[in-house]
């Protein structure tokens, strides 16, 4: 069985199948035809944009009320909390 036994799985969190990854890359190339650096830049920008946008929205919403509400108090021991 060898390789087949340990082929990668794409479920929950396991590694992507190399065949699928290569197909995905080829399809994107075929569709857009951009240079490699452009894909890195575009995908990288998308990855960075989400957390920055979320942080900006959270900041725009106002100061974190946790600062006034005993932040971390539940972190110290959740077992006793109903």
């Amino acid at each position: 069985m060898g390789t087949a036994l340990f082929r990668f799985v794409l479920h929950h969190s396991e590694a992507v199948d190399p065949t699928l990854a290569r197909w995905l890359r080829d399809e994107i190339d075929h569709l857009l035809g951009l240079p490699t650096a452009a894909y890195v830049g575009l995908l990288g920008a998308a990855i960075v944009a989400f957390p920055l946008g979320l942080l900006w929205m959270a900041r725009r919403r106002g100061p974190n009320p946790g600062a006034q509400a005993g932040e971390g108090s539940r972190d110290r021991g959740q077992r006793g909390a109903p």
């Binding site: 060898g2 699928l20 197909w23 960075v48 972190d75 109903p82």
Partner: protein, 456 residues
């Protein structure tokens, strides 16, 4: 006005204790957990992109490199109960942040690997195990504390982060590999985890809405649940079968029903994931076409996941969970009953609808029934059943193919197991055991005892 619409409006826009209006803070927490799952799952899925580079650089076979992935699979499964226990003891935020730091450092260290043994240790024992401290167990525990009525919807968004990681981070890794080399690619991915994931979790995630003076779903009082009519004030933090100690939960039937069914989920998804392409080869289908069909399955699962998560907040989750398993059983029967190419695409479509939908349903139902006191530990154990079931299934299906020369036996066995999982899920007495349907008194919430009438 429709009751669910009212709930939705109330949940989305709400006055905070300090008078500001805006989205319920729980959705920001969901956003941060979505991104943590995106990074955690995407980084691990990216492993497959680098196999050919490692084959060339380290002079080893695909099978040898794949052993690291297999170790990671088992390591991830075994770490879940541990992280669940830590989550119950110290809060989800601390576990999430510490795990993300460990995952980021392990990912950066992958860039310096000098041989396949280093890959096995770093990926199998560090990155994959630390990934268990992000998704699904600690993330589900935090979501369960922030949401009660919309728990299924919120958890489906967090789970969708895994699908998005496969769609965005894996191509990013592939192009980065083309533009640079595998060491730079791993360094960049580790940098993303450390520079974006960790600060986001620190800035936004709180283990419990009570830390910000809020309550689950943004409610003022937990006095509403599924069903019409006024209800007495109840404790949303607990559940009808909450136990003083977590082992006591295993004296009740729902945790066994959920664990066994989720184990079957692991068995069947792992079997299909690992043997799908090889099965296609036995049918004369090219690996590329099989991979394309599996890619379609992965794309469909995102839509199925979000749909099922949202619907589950409006009906009994066990019915949806049972339905998901039965639909997947049909998909496996189709693999045997239909000829090659139609079977391939039918399975991709039908199977895709059920692929990840079990995650929000199972974690939400566990929280509904057992409350939040031991939710991390219980979700961790249920998830471990999933991962170990999957690992065993890969072995058994491979040996069955060697013995019988066909996958029909394994696929029919999978269909039979899925019918059993469907029945196990459908027979969970959700109306009797779920906090969505049964009020939990203050006394019970304080003592955390088991409920004898419900525990039989």
């Amino acid at each position: 006005m429709d009751r669910h619409l009212l709930d939705r409006l109330r949940s989305v826009s709400r006055s905070e204790p300090d008078g500001r209006r805006g989205a319920f803070y729980g959705w920001y927490v969901v956003g941060a957990l979505f991104f943590a799952t995106f990074l955690g799952v995407g980084t691990r899925q990216g492993f497959g992109v680098f196999v050919e580079s490692w084959e060339r650089d380290f002079g080893v076979s695909v099978g040898t490199i794949s052993a690291a992935a297999a170790v990671g699979w088992v390591g991830n499964g075994l770490s879940q109960p541990l992280f669940g226990r830590l989550t119950d003891a110290f809060g989800g935020r601390r576990v999430l942040v510490a795990s993300t730091v460990a995952m980021g450092l392990g990912t950066v260290a992958m860039a310096g690997a000098q041989n396949v043994f280093a890959l096995l240790v770093l990926y199998g024992f560090v990155v994959s195990a630390a990934g268990g401290g992000v998704f699904p167990t600690p993330a589900a525990a935090v979501v369960s504390r922030w949401f009660q009525r919309r728990r299924g919807t919120a958890m489906s968004f967090v789970t969708f982060g895994g699908s998005a990681g496969g769609i965005v981070l894996v191509p990013f890794a592939a192009y980065l590999l083309l533009a640079t080399d595998w060491r730079v690619a791993w360094l960049a991915m580790g940098g993303l985890v450390l520079a974006l994931g960790v600060p986001l979790l620190l800035a936004i995630v709180r283990s419990d809405p009570g830390e910000l003076g809020l309550q689950a779903d943004g409610d003022d009082h937990h006095d509403e649940r599924v069903g019409a009519g006024p209800r007495p004030a109840v404790h949303a933090q607990t559940g009808p079968l909450v136990a003083r100690e977590w082992p006591d939960s295993f004296r009740t039937s729902p945790i066994w029903q959920l664990s066994l069914a989720y184990g079957v989920c692991g068995v069947t998804t792992a079997m299909a994931s690992v043997h799908y392409v090889r099965w296609a080869a036995t049918e004369g289908i090219s690996p590329g076409t099989a991979a394309l069909a599996f890619g379609l399955l992965s794309a469909i699962n995102g839509a199925g996941l979000l749909t099922v998560g949202a619907i589950s907040d409006r009906m009994q989750r066990k019915n949806l969970l049972g339905g998901v398993y039965l639909v997947r059983a049909v998909a496996f029967v189709m693999l045997v009953a239909l000829p090659g190419v139609p079977a391939l695409w039918t399975f991709a479509v039908i199977g895709g609808m059920s692929w990840l939908a079990t995650v929000p349903l199972t974690t939400s139902l566990t929280a509904d029934v057992y409350g939040l006191r031991h939710i991390g530990t219980l979700n961790g154990l249920v998830t471990m059943a999933h991962q170990l079931g999957g690992a065993a299934a890969v072995l058994v299906a491979g040996f069955a193919f060697d013995r019988f020369g066909t996958y029909d036996v394994s696929f029919l066995a999978a269909a039979a197991l899925l019918v059993v999982a469907g029945l196990l899920s459908l027979t969970i007495r959700e109306r009797a055991y779920s906090t969505r349907f049964q009020p939990v008194t203050a006394e019970a919430a304080a003592t955390g005892r088991s409920y004898p009438t419900a525990a039989s």
